[in-house]
Symmetry: C2
Subunit: 204 residues, 2 copies
DNA sequence: ACCTGAACACCGTTCAAGT
DNA sequence: ACCTGAACACCGTTCAAGT
């Protein structure tokens, strides 16, 4: 059935479909995506330039699902920035299978400008110098990206032999959760530390 | 020439060769690696189980190049931890083309135990609680990983149209370097903030 | 034990043909 | 404009054969 009266595909559907495929299979292939969308692989190339653009559409869809950042700009900067970081990471956490594909580049696409604009306004209003703001956002983003990858990291296993040669490592690992709370704890710890460090930069 | 008297390949050479290929081509393929090493692609499978293991060998080689962490354990924890983080990231920075391949998982391989052991010992000696140490290391590692990816991130471009809709973003971008110093600055800023935040966790 | 060369299934992309 | 089906170059991996 060539040329259906109402198009089977559009960029939005492609992005969302790719995200589903990556979620289910832990990887993305064009044939798998075409199957998911009920079309032939070649049909996709009428809407996107190639695989790379599909991944960009996945990022766009992910951001959409993260929801609007509707935080109140009159609120204090710290809880607002924290909420932004958490929702950003939560969006990744909702798609663990897609993380290795998506967390390899910051969401520096045009549709992200609105988000950056609000964060920049927030930090400027908080009293940070203009030259400080972008590095701060950048650093926080790096931490979030790395923490997203940490969501799908294999657990650190210390073998019994290593127990003798690495007593301190063994000791600190014993006191650390091995399940999903490990990554949560690392994220919480780092986020808190970053915010504390940011606060110390403000004039008093 | 099958079965040379002295083997053409070993795991060490494979890891180093793969790193060179990724550096030069920005990607790794088995045929390209085989060409680099002067063998047939199938020869590789006598030494590694597959592509995934080759990437693991690349990480191993990267760590080797980062050099031994020979910091003095009697030194204060903060400059030592900072030096560790910087050398870790510098290893990535030396192989920008390989970063997307390598920065997707923490170096949680067995050969990393020695490194973790020393950092754990350092932080315990500094007075951090046993339950705090692993989350701290984990958080720092996430930041380093994200910062490594940032090394190869496309520059954030704000078009002229966006200038009107995103005045704050435009303002803070004007005060930020667009070249390689952008990523340096973000890393320095985040690292400093993290260390400050860590310090605040210590009992006084 | 270590390498080659042929072979296989699969992938991303292109393009002529159909409506 | 939008989809199909055939086709192409390429990739990761396997395996029999050679020393």
């Amino acid at each position: 059935m060539p040329r259906p009266r109402t198009p089977l595909l559009d960029r939005r559907r492609i992005g969302a479909g790719a995200l589903r495929v990556a979620d289910e299979q832990g990887a993305l292939s064009i044939p798998a995506l075409a199957r998911e969308l009920g079309v032939a692989p070649s049909a996709l190339y009428h809407h996107v330039s190639g695989r790379e653009e599909i991944v960009a559409l996945m990022r766009e869809e992910l951001t959409r699902e993260a929801g609007p950042d509707d935080w109140d700009p009159s609120q204090p900067w710290e809880p607002s920035l924290e909420a932004w970081a958490r929702s950003y990471r939560a969006a990744f956490a909702a798609h663990p299978g897609a993380v290795p594909l998506l967390a390899t580049a910051p969401l520096a696409e045009p549709f992200m400008h609105a988000k950056y604009e609000r964060v920049a306004a927030l930090l400027l209003a908080a009293g940070f110098a203009a030259g400080q703001v972008m590095p701060l956002i950048n650093a926080l983003e790096n931490f979030i990206l790395g923490s997203a990858l940490d969501l799908v990291a294999p657990p650190v296993m210390v073998s019994d032999v290593a127990r003798e040669t690495a007593p301190h490592l063994s000791a600190v690992l014993d006191g650390t959760p091995a399940d999903h709370r490990r990554a949560e704890l690392a994220f919480d710890t780092g986020l808190r530390a970053l915010l504390t460090g940011f606060r110390a930069l403000l004039p008093r």
